[in-house]
Symmetry: C2
Subunit: 471 residues, 2 copies
């Protein structure tokens, strides 16, 4: 869609300095560079060079060189983001952090981990689990996505409903700012009020304020037992009432996932999953805790989930049954790909009680624009993945999709929601940010950006929309 032409090559003197700094850790061949010019959006652009440092001091020198030369620098994990935030649309050097893997220290006594940014989420989880701990953020891409990327996007996942996002699970950061200065934020402790909270400011800033070169993460003890339930409802309202009821009682589920009628219809076409014929909404619910308490807890959840309009609540008793119950949810992504190779996937959030209004509104938009919309996601946070399914054969649909999307965001904001719960802004949602953030907020954010990155080299054109009237 937005594939840019290859930018001019870097000046020879710059390449020589980069080569001296990085040796073989610099890619200049176009064939090599293309592999670092994309993410999981449909955007791609050719970087002028790719840097693959494995040490903090190399990054310091690289940032200083880029600041001096005014070269854009695009920090990148494994490219699993969905917003084009790591696509070098303005040219520049992609700074791949995948080789920053030296440190993965688990400190169980202090419930923390110190991690280099190129460690994957799964590697961290495996190391932590040996000590009986985990790090709560669990994006779908956890097998390959990096901790640095998780922090840059504030990526969460299903467990956030009980355990929070990276902002609630990070103690401190080591960062290289846009001037090449090394900044340490936060503490190694779970309390600390000395100075302003720069840790959370950097988390979710999409590489626009600094390059994270190390993180101190708060670990949480692994629960020893888990139970899985699947509940089906005759209407979206009934399911939403169940979500509210589940969130209003003391036992917070560790996953509370949702599929609407369109999503159910789609997986039902795809394979027979034994769901009730009149199911209009489905909840996947997981609870975790101690072996002694878990069965009582699961029964309590089952009782709460049985609101008016509930068709069935199935509680898995074996691993096979757990797998069977998850099958409908897991069938969704391949089904979506099969049915609609071209789709727009948003991850809006509304207050939980407004989920029925959101889904009703989305159905109305779907009918008005003639675009199928399939919704599923993290109901406990009100975080819904809204999928507009486009016909790749119909080029006129693009304009309709744009107009529909704008109305989706208006609907969300009108319900007190936010444009994105975990994907972020990147390059694809900038046009809509002004609908959510006021000029006062944007002005302060731009001022902060200028302080952290006075030369404007860190991921330019990503995150905050350009100031239409810069001073």
């Amino acid at each position: 869609m937005n594939t840019s032409e290859p930018k001019d090559a870097l000046e020879g003197s710059v390449v020589r300095r980069l080569r001296r700094l990085l040796g073989e850790r610099l890619l200049t061949d176009p064939a090599d560079r293309w592999a670092y010019g994309y993410d999981n959006s449909r955007q791609q652009a050719l970087p002028q060079a790719v840097a693959l440092p494995d040490r903090h001091d190399q990054i310091v020198e690289l940032v200083r060189l880029c600041a001096q030369q005014g070269i854009p620098l695009i920090p990148r994990g494994r490219g699993t983001g969905t917003t084009g935030a790591v696509v070098p649309a303005q040219g520049g050097i992609v700074l791949s952090l995948e080789h920053m893997r030296e440190r993965l220290e688990i400190d169980p006594d202090n419930r923390l981990a110190v991690v280099a940014p190129g460690i994957t989420n799964q590697e961290l989880q495996e190391a932590a689990s040996e000590h009986g701990f985990f790090w709560p953020p669990d994006p779908t891409s956890s097998a390959v996505c990096t901790i640095g990327g998780n922090l840059a996007y504030n990526s969460a996942g299903p467990r956030a409903v009980k355990y929070g996002t990276p902002r609630e699970n990070t103690l401190g950061l080591q960062v290289v700012t846009g001037t090449g200065d090394t900044l340490h934020t936060g503490t190694r402790t779970t309390k600390g009020v000395v100075g302003y909270d720069l840790t959370r400011l950097l988390i979710g800033s999409e590489g626009t304020l600094g390059v994270i070169t190390e993180a101190t993460l708060k670990l949480t003890p692994l629960a020893t037992a888990k139970r899985t339930l699947q509940a089906t409802y005759s209407s979206i309202d009934a399911a939403a009432r169940a979500v509210s009821a589940l969130m209003a009682q003391p036992l917070t589920p560790c996953a509370l996932e949702f599929m609407d009628a369109q999503a159910i219809a789609m997986v039902r076409d795809y394979s027979d999953l034994g769901l009730p014929a009149d199911a209009q909404a489905l909840l996947m619910i997981e609870v975790d805790g101690s072996e002694e308490a878990i069965d009582g807890d699961a029964e309590r959840i089952r009782t709460v989930a049985r609101t008016r309009g509930c068709l069935a609540v199935e509680l898995a008793h074996t691993e096979d049954e757990v797998a069977r119950l998850w099958r409908a949810r897991k069938a969704l992504s391949p089904a979506l790909r099969n049915v609609a190779p071209k789709k727009i996937n948003e991850d809006v959030v509304v207050p939980v009680s407004h989920l029925p209004s959101l889904i009703d509104g989305l159905q109305a938009l779907s009918q008005r624009y003639g675009i199928p919309i399939v919704n599923f996601g993290h109901a406990g946070n009100g975080n819904i993945h809204v999928n507009l399914l486009l016909d790749p054969e119909d080029p006129r649909q693009s304009a309709a999709a744009e107009a529909c999307l704008s109305e989706v965001f208006s609907l969300v904001l009108g319900l007190g929601g936010t444009l994105s719960g975990e994907h972020g802004i990147g390059r694809v949602k900038q046009a809509y940010v002004g609908q959510e953030l006021s000029p006062v907020a944007l002005g302060l954010m731009r001022a902060i950006k200028r302080q952290f990155d006075p030369h404007g080299i860190l991921n330019p054109g990503v995150g905050l929309p350009e100031d239409p009237s810069p001073d």
Copy 2:
């Protein structure tokens, strides 16, 4: 100690404009003003005027007037802070937010509350509990301290070990910046990644970046059952091992409070509490959960607390027993006041595993300087209240106390800790901030301060130390 002379009165024209804006909500009589010139530190200064607005728009106008005239504005809750952060040492207008009480809305379906800043912590807890919820931050002063103050200081309390501080329990803020602009931060949802996280930046900024006029708070369901345990140990090391063991297992206590040998000796002198004669450290442990699981959970905690060196673990079975077990901890504050009317109370934090080194180091400093030091606090967070007991009859002790305090902070930072876990910097700890924060961090924080408050009117002289070499 640091009592300032009354500042000159405000210009007549300014007073007239303030009177027009605030009517009777402006105090100009010195006798009235004195009551707003102190906090729970030993500092006091006479404000030039006191504003008592009850509406957001009045605060907007007040800030604009102060910005235009260059008059310091000191936001104040109920003055329960301990760092002099609300003492108008540079003169100016104290902005008391105690009458900003119009809004206290509990939204159980969305697990949130929308609260005006003058509502007290206890009022919020009572309103939330009617719906089965609570807001985790619980400072000792919760009966009188305000939500605005809790947010300005990031005040926590014992429950933070399980439920976090205000930074983990706040969704969004309405703020008036130093230019009189109204800023909305965050969302009404538990996920949101649109723009930089200004919510956490403002929390804990001690009124130096903006005046909080409304907050959207994340509520947590009340547990239905709680159990209280008291464990005593033959050494501080044994108690610290128990803390580590308790924090390494899946069941996180909702309170894990600590008293050292000096603290035990002090309450033992004060009244007979039936503690073992050789108790050198004491832990108060609380667990919460469901009625069905709580007794099993309490037994598991008891087992874990019985590390080598444990003398006894008592588990309360009745309300009377709970009160009896808490008696030692509750006797501490009056005992401290009786023994040492003059004391320096710090709230340092170290990683939990370094608690023994911290206490050992503090005992060595106590002996070297001839100053008794009593330690207690929130062990689960490594947050220890360090009390230097001074002899009010000995004026020479002040210099020794200053030197000792500086060494306390060096000890804490050497152990990977932080100067303050919940009290903050205010006016009393600024001299030490440079030991913890680097020039890079301080430079960015000062730049952020200038963006939020370009006229430097919001709580000048508080928080960040003055820049020795401003540009």
